[in-house]
């Protein structure tokens, strides 16, 4: 490795110490005359960070009456100029390239930034920061495929991560699982797998993974918000409170920690407190997507729809692909009795997540609402919902009911049968089962398919209530029709 003296020189060490103490400008000043590649990088990077720090401060100082003023990193121009020169003279190392890419990205020159960052990761693949910058610049699959990346195992990490960002969860999961074969003890990979599985809604496995992860890495705060979401969905009060306690002891001023506490309060039904913590999370990171969405949910619970709408809209404007926020917007408007208006948002949400049955069901319910009463469209939505693994089994039942309402007995019978099969498979019982049996029995009877009708009638006899009596009389009627003989006492035959 060819480097000049400066690396080992005192200047560099002094600057590095200043840098570690976060005295960036001081560090840069020390290195003002150094020309070694490392020194140049450290100087530029220190300046960049100094500018960022000042920018953050100014953002608060300069806030106008209508929101933020345009605070900018004032070092960008000079940094870009200098790095461009270095780049042109080919006297730049991969780290310099990374910084150059960063600066270009901030200045909005995305194409060049991508090019520079690709060059950086190709010549030095172990710089994850460069990869993550590159990831944030790849917003579509097409852009990703256009990148000219040389093969390296770091590329696999990158791809796995970006697939997750692009909602290609299965691809992402398989990449991570491959990687896990190589890096068996990596907490990072484990957490990423959990996140991917969370997006695929496999909550059981996710919980197991996170429990394991926390055993190995007890002071971890990163990604724990996902874990808290899982606990929330599964309504594990104590586990969630334990997790909240744990992260607050580790670091209370992390957005993730605040989010976990917000989730906890939400589960307890204390929505005002929950909002306070989500707000804190957002103060720490204004672009924290899930906090905006979750806060929207809280406002919905508190029946403060305008605030909910506002929160959701902010989430959507940060990431227009966030289907949960679109869904929330739709729900909020539906709550206000504006189903037609809500449809716009539901359409958006199913567009971004067409495999989630809940979204389709929500949209169908919107169409079904008294004001719109567009049953044909509702049926279409329920069909989509039924096709994408409707865990709560609402869709089939609703489909059957709607078809019955529209006087389409064939279709209704088809869906009742399907629903019935499903309930049998899951061993569920309830009014829906009775209703299905009842409809099928009468339907087959009118169709003169007495055998099938008899089967359903007999099953109905297992239940109490008026249906049992109806079933009896149906059976009786069928016997008469079938044999032409006078009726026999059915009760006599049945235990």
């Amino acid at each position: 490795m060819e480097e000049d003296e400066a690396i080992h020189g005192d200047f560099y060490l002094l600057a590095k110490s200043y840098f570690d103490c976060r005295e960036y400008r001081r560090a840069a000043h020390v290195l003002r005359d150094q020309t070694g590649k490392k020194s140049v990088f450290l100087r530029c990077y220190a300046l960049y960070l100094a500018g960022e720090k000042r920018k953050e401060e100014e953002m608060i100082e300069l806030e106008g009456p209508l929101g933020k003023s345009d605070a900018v990193n004032r070092e960008l121009v000079s940094l870009e100029r200098e790095l461009a020169t270095l780049c042109k003279n080919n006297t730049i190392d991969p780290f310099g390239l990374y910084l150059y890419g960063l600066v270009l990205k901030e200045k909005g020159n995305e194409n060049l930034a991508r090019k520079v960052l690709v060059e950086s990761v190709n010549s030095y693949p172990w710089n994850w920061s460069a990869w993550s910058e590159l990831q944030s610049l790849c917003t579509t699959v097409d852009i990703l495929n256009g990148l000219n990346l040389s093969n390296h195992w770091m590329k696999e990490f990158f791809l796995a991560s970006i697939y997750q960002e692009l909602r290609m969860h299965n691809e992402s999961l398989s990449k991570y699982e491959n990687l896990q074969g190589m890096f068996t003890f990596s907490n990072y990979i484990q957490a990423q797998i959990a996140k991917a599985r969370y997006s695929l809604r496999e909550f059981e496995q996710v919980e197991v993974i996170f429990e394991d992860l926390l055993r190995n890495d007890p002071y971890r705060v990163e990604d724990m918000d996902t874990y808290s979401n899982v606990l929330y969905t599964k309504e594990c009060f104590s586990a969630l409170s334990y997790l909240a306690h744990r992260v607050i002891m580790t670091d209370k001023y992390r957005p993730e920690s605040c989010c976990i506490i917000g989730n906890y309060y939400s589960l307890k039904g204390q929505h005002e407190k929950s909002v306070v913590y989500f707000r804190r999370a957002l103060k720490l990171n204004k672009n924290y997507l899930s906090a905006w969405t979750l806060m929207g949910h809280e406002y919905v619970e508190m029946k403060n729809t305008p605030a909910a709408v506002d929160a959701y809209r902010r989430a959507v404007d940060i990431n227009p692909r966030d289907y949960r926020a679109w869904y929330g917007l739709g729900q909020a408007y539906e709550m206000m009795g504006m189903p037609h208006y809500a449809l716009h948002y539901f359409r958006k949400s199913v567009f971004f997540q067409p495999i989630d049955s809940r979204l389709w069901i929500a949209m169908a319910q919107c169409y079904e609402s008294e004001q719109l009463h567009m049953l044909e469209e509702a049926i279409k939505c329920y069909k989509r919902a039924a096709n994408c693994n409707d865990t709560e089994a609402i869709a089939l039942h609703r489909l059957a009911m709607l078809h019955r309402e529209l006087d389409q007995p064939e279709e209704a019978a088809f869906y009742y049968k399907k629903d019935l099969e499903r309930m049998e498979a899951e061993e569920r019982e309830g009014p829906n089962l009775v209703e299905a049996l009842m409809f099928l029995a009468t339907h087959y009877k009118t169709q003169k398919k007495f055998e099938e009708a008899e089967v359903y009638c007999t099953r109905l006899l297992d239940y109490t209530g008026p249906e049992r009596e109806t079933a009896k009389s149906l059976l009786r009627g069928m016997r008469i029709a079938q044999s032409g003989f006078p009726s026999m006492d059915v009760e006599h035959f049945h235990p």
């Binding site: 300046l47 004032r74 000079s78 305008p306 009795g337 504006m338």
Partner: protein
């Protein structure tokens, strides 16, 4: 809402405000004389006061003016004082070099204000009333300064430095081109606006950063090898070590640094005007978008909006403006997106026209979102969707008891129903109307519309929404014009109803719109008018007229009111003007339908002259269309096409659909007259294409196109086809209740049958058309139906000539008084024919009785180039001359006859420059 927003009135202190404060201090310096020191006359003093007032109120931009702009304006204002004023302002500004200077400055300012008990004051003493506009401004500045943190004061100080430096850099260039028009800066700015958005934006950003970079000195920069900076392209600011001294010795060396910053873009330190001024600006822009439609510059305004959004992310009105901009440029998806975004953020409770409800109802006004969405769908030609949304809007406004919104929604629905032909609304207008339309579900669309109109009008009246009342009256007039009022219930005691439209009612409705103009002040916000007024005042300052005034001031130096010299902007809000104007348009249309050409023309002219400023471009185009059509009918095509040319120039950049349609109509008519049947068919097809455009089917245009198609077929003597087209057209008109059009179609059918030689079949059609005309008071159409009837009688045989003549004479007053050239000519020819075919009439006894009308007819037809009728007239003339034994004149007439027949048969022999190039343009 969720985002933490400071109070909308929040007020940030900026360098520009500091300089205004300095000026206010000069204006009201605590002295003892009536005309304080630097001023030489009261008028001069007043002028500065007016200028300051305008400065704090105008809303022509989103950004505060730069110092150099301020200085330029001061030059216009100050007259002889300009040097003193600008020097004072700049020296005062540059003397502010430490935070403590700022503290002292604001303390000084406080002395300018009179105390709350400033009742005891000596004569002639100048003291600023703390409650006056300027006093309030000063107080707000002082308050804002007092609220600043120390960091804020430091930023203010830096910004003042930048503000001065920029001015000085452009000031030196100003000295060079001082002779130039002072409007130069603005022109160069507007040039930039046309460039690519992103490009400009990037450039601005870069240069802003570069400028900041150059002003703030960081030592490392200077240690870079010199070559580096020269190698990289696009660098305008050189890292000159000389500038290192600038920060310290700003006051002394500031002129020198002007050299350095010369190339810097003037959009340097950007500060927004006050919230109030920006809202005013946005409202003005919204008006402008609506007025100019698609001719409004999309990109330039989008650039401004983006900048505004970046500078004030919590100002959500920007999204609404963006929606409007997209709407009028037919960008459906962006419009939809922005509309939703706006209402998500603002919940319909933003803007200074919003008065927060007294109660605890703070749950947003999302029904307005529905209303807007409905109108958007309507605009984009999805009437069904629009109706669905509006129905929801009605329901939600009822739920939230927002009566105002309800009234507006109902009006929008009426508009929708009357504009778009629905054959049935069943399934669309559903349950929510049951409380309103409880009469029954079997109502036709027209009846529903009537009920809606009545309800909407009543609501608007009870809510005292003046503009809406006026608009509703207009809609009502429109309804009365074309619909016979029948009782809604068909049972019960039958009162004697005359089944006719009533022109008096129409007139009444139109008149009741005028009350608006005297009462508008109760509604619309006067604040906007105020702001617009100030803007206009300031803008006039930039015009050369300003210097004209100035020179007068220098010369005569007497008291004058500066307002008198400027074109005073009207104090009536544009929307009111527009409404009143459109009542004139309605009148013109009404008279057109009733058949009074002069009155229609007079009303159109009134509109074109008095309301041209306030009208939207589509309305203006409509008036032009009406006037040109009038010209074509009464003066012939030459004049009409000449007028059309000027109109086309005027509406050049607008999507000239109306003008285009009219052009096609004129071309078609002329082609028919000249016998260019192929061309006529071509033009007709083009009209048909326009009618079936993507943006909803325009029923009016559709009927027009197929009517013309039938007429072309008739001219081509394909009678059965023509009859079939006309027949299906009549069916359509009947289905969609287009009754006025039905009358025309029936008349056409009668004509078709007459020309095909089936006069007996034609008679009932003509009679049916007549009865339609009677019902709707279509007097002119009735006269022409009578004429056709006479022609029909005549063609039944010579023994009916007397009947025909009687009929014709009955219609003559109307035809000659109001009819166009063609109609009159036809009437004359028919009259002549009647006489000629009457066996009891002898030509030799009374030749002039026949010859006179024929000559008149030939004269009038000349302008129309109507070969067929001309040929007929000359033929008849030749016969008459033959009978009279005047062979010479007979030959002459026969020759003309031959010419016309020839040109009718060989239409392409005639060269026509206009036709070819106009069609190309079309």
């Amino acid at each position: 809402m969720a985002g933490v927003v400071k109070a909308p009135g929040a007020f940030a202190i900026t360098p520009h405000k500091v300089s205004v404060c300095i000026l206010v201090n000069i204006y009201a310096s605590p002295s003892q004389i009536s005309v304080p020191f630097p001023f030489s006359s009261v008028s001069q003093h007043n002028r500065l006061g007016l200028y300051l007032l305008a400065l704090t109120k105008s809303c022509d931009d989103i950004l505060e003016p730069k110092l150099d702009q301020l200085i330029n304006q001061l030059r216009e204002i100050g007259g002889l004082l300009d040097h003193w004023l600008t020097d004072h302002v700049t020296s005062r500004l540059s003397s502010l070099s430490s935070p403590d200077d700022l503290f002292n400055f604001f303390n000084e300012l406080r002395e300018t204000l009179g105390g709350p008990d400033s009742g005891v004051m000596e004569d002639d003493q100048v003291i600023l009333d703390p409650n006056s506009n300027l006093g309030m401004f000063l107080r707000r500045c002082i308050l804002a300064f007092n609220l600043l943190t120390f960091e804020g004061i430091c930023h203010l100080l830096t910004n003042i430095g930048i503000y001065c430096k920029e001015a000085i850099s452009s000031c030196s260039s100003y000295e060079l081109r001082r002779v130039d028009d002072s409007g130069n800066d603005f022109e160069s700015l507007s040039e930039d606006e046309n460039m690519d958005l992103n490009l400009v934006f990037k450039k601005i950003n870069e240069e802003m950063e570069a400028r900041k970079r150059a002003t703030e000195q960081v030592s490392f920069h200077l240690h870079l090898p010199k070559e580096l900076s020269t190698l990289v392209e696009d660098i305008e600011v050189s890292a000159d070590p000389k500038s290192e001294h600038n920060d310290k010795g700003r006051e002394s060396s500031s002129y020198a640094s002007g050299e350095l910053l010369r190339d810097v873009d003037p959009n340097g330190g950007v500060f927004l005007l006050t919230n109030w001024q920006i809202q005013g600006y946005l409202m003005e822009q919204a008006d402008a978008i609506e007025k100019h439609g698609s001719s409004f510059t999309l990109n330039a305004f989008e650039l401004t909006l983006r900048q505004l959004q970046k500078l004030a992310p919590e100002l959500h009105r920007v999204h609404f403006l963006r929606y409007l901009n997209n709407l009028y440029h037919d960008d459906y998806f962006s419009a939809l997106e922005n509309l939703h975004r706006y209402f998500d953020y603002s919940a319909g409770t933003e803007g200074f026209d919003f008065v927060p409800p007294a109660g605890c109802n703070s749950f947003g006004r999302y029904e307005i979102a529905l209303l807007c969405l409905g109108m958007m769908h309507f605009h984009f030609g999805h009437p069904k969707k629009a109706l669905e949304v509006l129905t929801e809007a009605v329901r939600v406004s009822q739920q939230h008891s927002n009566d105002t919104c309800l009234a507006y929604t109902l009006a929008a629905m009426c508009n929708l129903l009357s504009e778009i032909g629905f054959s049935t609304t069943s399934g669309i207008l559903g349950s929510p109307f049951s409380p309103m339309i409880s009469v029954g579900t079997s109502l036709s669309v027209q009846q529903q519309l009537f009920v809606l109109l009545k309800g909407s009008l009543k609501r608007a009246e009870s809510l005292k929404l003046k503009q809406l009342v006026a608009a509703n009256h207009l809609a009502m007039a429109k309804f009365d014009l074309t619909h016979v009022q029948r009782p809604l219930l068909s049972f019960g005691p039958k009162t004697s109803m005359k089944l006719r439209t009533c022109p008096i009612i129409v007139c009444k409705e139109l008149r009741s719109g005028y009350h608006l103009i005297s009462e508008f002040c109760c509604e619309g916000s006067t604040m906007t008018a105020d702001g617009a007024f100030s803007t206009a005042w300031l803008k006039n300052l930039q015009k050369p007229m300003g210097s004209l005034v100035l020179s007068q001031d220098n010369g005569s130096r007497n008291n004058y009111n500066p307002f008198l010299f400027f074109t005073q902007p009207s104090s009536i809000p544009g929307s009111v003007m527009q409404l009143v104007g459109s009542s004139y348009l309605h009148r013109a249309t009404a008279w057109e339908i009733y058949g009074s050409a002069p009155l229609a023309r007079a009303n159109a002219l009134v509109y074109a002259t008095c309301f041209a400023d306030a009208s939207s471009s589509s309305d203006a185009a409509l008036v032009h269309v009406k006037l040109i059509q009038h010209l074509a009918v009464f003066k012939g095509y030459k004049e009409a096409f000449a007028a059309l040319k000027t109109a086309e120039e005027k509406f050049l950049c607008v999507s000239k659909s109306r003008i285009l349609i009219m052009k096609l109509q004129l071309l078609h008519e002329r082609a028919l007259h000249r016998g260019h049947l192929k061309l006529a068919q071509q033009v007709c097809d083009e009209l048909g294409v326009l009618a079936s455009s993507v943006t909803a089917v325009d029923m009016e245009l559709k009927t027009e196109a197929s009517l013309r198609h039938a007429r072309t077929l008739l001219a081509a003597k394909q009678f059965s086809q023509a009859a079939a087209v006309a027949h299906s057209l009549f069916c359509m008109c009947y289905k969609f209740n287009l009754q006025v059009e039905s009358a025309t179609v029936l008349l056409l059918l009668a004509e078709i049958h007459m020309k095909s030689g089936n006069a007996v079949v034609g008679l009932p059609y003509a009679l049916a058309s007549l009865s339609y005309c009677q019902t709707f008071n279509l007097d002119l159409l009735r006269a022409s139906a009578t004429l056709t009837l006479a022609e029909l009688w005549l063609s039944l045989g010579s023994n009916h000539a007397k009947t025909a003549l009687t009929l014709l004479h009955g219609a003559f007053p109307m035809i000659l008084g109001h009819g166009g050239l063609e109609l009159c000519a036809r009437a004359y020819i028919t009259e002549a024919k009647c006489y000629l075919s009457d066996p009891s009439f002898s030509v030799s006894k009374n030749p002039e009785l026949v010859l006179d009308p024929l000559r008149q007819a030939a004269d009038e037809l000349q302008a129309l180039e109507h070969h067929e009728l001309m040929a007929e007239a000359f033929y008849l003339m030749a016969i008459v001359f033959d009978k009279l034994g005047q062979p010479e004149q007979r030959e002459e007439a026969a020759c003309s006859f031959k010419n016309h027949v020839m040109s009718l048969d060989h239409p392409h022999d005639v060269e026509d420059p206009i036709q070819s190039d106009t069609l190309l343009n079309a």
